[in-house]
């Protein structure tokens, strides 16, 4: 009951604050917040990205000079690959995991009740590869349960978790595990996902997104010291840390956000390792992108709701800025929606002067600054990220849509997901749905 009331309170605060804002101040001030918040965040991300590069990345050799780290004691590393209906992509994922340059690797594929022949494929592969083990879950249980079973069966303390359609770079395991061995306080390391599916505009825009926004955000959060989430598609964990926090939760729609918060609440550090590359498939249709981003937004809201009661203890103070950012992002979405509503109403009826919004376009000078900041952010991200992907600058022709696409998708997914999560009576077990992995391929280069 208390949780329900709390969820309603959170919803009222996030929904009500833009309304209170506009009643106390003016509609134009609300619109100013809508335009200045992205500027504000962009400045933070660029600073964080540059600092990360200046402090760490610029010292790392790259290209032909790049060397994978040597893992002290050469410990066994377990790669966990949860698979659900992965008959098309699973084999190449497992082969990439088995063919790591680091030799002491076992791979556990967890077949989560697939219905497409994945089980047969995995069994056949297990006969051919000594270091591959297969766990079949008798019924579909969801990714979190699949990962838990992998952690139980693993022979290693170090777990690298990847999705069933992701291809690890040959040195990715070494880069992911080295920080866990070298730093006792590190509980998880998140890798650098790079997009493979680049056939449609939606796919190409995301190439820019992963460099220009997600890469800079991850670097910034690492500089700050707390990470909002590890990448569910490629991350490494210390099993002892997972055991202390109860492993992945079964009822969270995004198990990666949840485990990141659980680990950090237990004072484990999470590192970002951009050299741990993992090539991933992403949605290439608007529908697929929408479903994926809605899930991400729901995941954020669920984590906020789960933590909002207990996060305010002084010992969790370092997570407060992440809570604040999450709340501000949600407030921004509702402020934008309210601005649109007031603008429409201003055209139809006579509103009190302080509620009127004459135009939704950014004031000319703000438009100029927004455009310039976008360009600057792209430029910085290409400078930093080109070492991981030669020819990245070419992909930036398509990225012009990204500022609009990112903030608009973020706007609408927040508008829908926030009330959906806050008004839900009980959280249910999160199960798989087959994601969009790009349009049907005919040519890979």
């Amino acid at each position: 009951m208390t949780d329900r009331l709390l969820a309603l309170l959170v919803l009222c605060v996030v929904l009500g604050s833009p309304i209170g804002f506009v009643l106390v101040l003016t509609g134009e001030v609300l619109l100013a917040f809508v335009f200045f918040y992205p500027l504000f965040m962009s400045a933070v991300w660029m600073t964080g990205g540059i600092y990360f590069w200046w402090h760490w990345e610029r010292h790392w050799p790259w290209g032909a000079q790049r060397r994978a780290p040597t893992l002290a004691g050469e410990p066994l590393v377990t790669v966990l690959v949860p698979c659900y209906n992965e008959v098309e992509n699973g084999a190449e994922t497992l082969l990439a995991a088995l063919n790591q340059n680091y030799p002491n690797v076992e791979v556990i594929a967890i077949n989560d009740g697939s219905r497409d022949g994945t089980g047969d494929m995995l069994d056949d592969m297990a006969l051919l590869h000594d270091r591959l083990r297969v766990l079949h879950l008798a019924q579909n249980q969801g990714k979190a349960m699949a990962l838990r079973m992998g952690a139980l069966a693993a022979r290693s303390e170090y777990l690298v978790c990847i999705d069933g359609d992701a291809r690890l770079d040959p040195d990715a395991v070494a880069f992911l595990v080295a920080p866990l061995i070298d730093n006792p306080r590190v509980g998880a390391v998140t890798g650098n996902p790079r997009i493979r599916t680049r056939s449609t505009l939606i796919g190409r825009i995301q190439v820019g997104e992963f460099s220009s926004i997600i890469g800079l955000i991850k670097r910034t959060q690492r500089v700050y010291g707390q990470v909002f989430t590890v990448s569910g598609v490629v991350a490494a964990f210390r099993r002892h840390a997972l055991d202390r926090v109860g492993y992945w939760s079964l009822d969270m729609i995004t198990e990666d956000i949840d485990i990141s918060w659980k680990l950090q609440r237990d004072h484990w550090a999470i590192f970002y390792e951009p050299r741990a590359l993992c090539w991933i498939l992403m949605p290439e249709t608007l529908r697929g992108l929408w479903k994926q981003r809605l899930r991400w937004a729901q995941g954020g809201a669920e984590v906020l709701l789960k933590n909002v009661r207990s996060i305010w203890g002084w010992r969790h103070r370092r997570l407060w800025p992440l809570v604040l950012e999450l709340c501000l992002s949600a407030t921004w979405a509702y402020s934008f929606a309210l601005s649109i509503l007031l603008w429409l109403l201003s055209m139809a009826v006579e509103l009190p002067p302080h509620l009127q919004i004459a135009s939704l376009a950014p004031p000319a000078f703000t438009g100029l600054v927004l455009a310039a900041v976008c360009l600057l952010q792209f430029f910085i991200s290409v400078l930093i990220d080109r070492r991981y992907e030669p020819g990245l600058a070419r992909a930036l022709y398509w990225v012009i849509w990204y500022p609009i696409a990112y903030w608009m998708v973020s706007l609408f997914t927040t508008l829908i997901s926030f009330p959906k999560v806050m008004l839900r009576i009980r959280r249910r077990r999160a199960r798989w749905t087959s994601p969009d992995r790009g349009i049907k391929r005919s040519r890979a280069s």
Binding site: R239, H240, L368
Partner: protein
């Protein structure tokens, strides 16, 4: 590694045209911004240059100060942490997780854990609440048959047939 599926020429053309349009809008925003600065400045032969550009510079300075403040807050925090924890291990090194803890966390017996670790292929059955009901260790090649969903409580025969 990169997947570029062949698409219809109109589709590709549409993407390229839309993106070109996006760049045009982007440049329009930039131009409008510059024009508004130029048009709104106080004009006249007697108005000094600095008076003309001062309002713009003032606004830009405010943006720059806010950005610098954000950035310096983040950087100060990062440097403070580096200095504070430079030589301190914030956490003692934990030993490898013991089997006892693992068995308690997952509610499995030592035999089940040993069996699971020793095999290449296993089947795990769960109850509705997520508890492990049974672990089947398979010594040989199996042919996997998925169960109907949602399951009742499946028996072994329903889920696999040994080849």
């Amino acid at each position: 590694m990169i997947i570029t599926t062949e698409r219809s020429i109109p589709g590709v053309f549409l993407d390229a045209a839309l993106t070109a349009l996006g760049w045009v809008c982007f440049l329009y925003l930039l131009t409008q911004g510059v024009l508004s600065i130029v048009n709104e400045r106080p004009l006249g032969p007697d108005v000094p240059f600095w008076t003309q550009v001062l309002p713009t510079l003032h606004t830009l300075t405010v943006y720059m100060i806010v950005a610098a403040l954000n950035g310096s807050l983040l950087l100060s925090w990062a440097m403070y942490n580096r200095r504070r924890f430079a030589r301190a291990d914030r956490r003692k090194s934990l030993p490898r997780l013991q089997d006892g803890a693992l068995m308690r966390s997952f509610g499995v017996s030592q035999e089940q854990l040993a069996g699971l670790r020793s095999t290449d292929v296993a089947i795990i059955h769960h109850a509705e609440d997520g508890q492990i009901m049974d672990i089947e260790v398979l010594p040989a090649k199996v042919t996997w048959l998925p169960t109907a969903q949602p399951p009742a409580s499946p028996g072994r025969d329903e889920v696999l047939a040994t080849a």
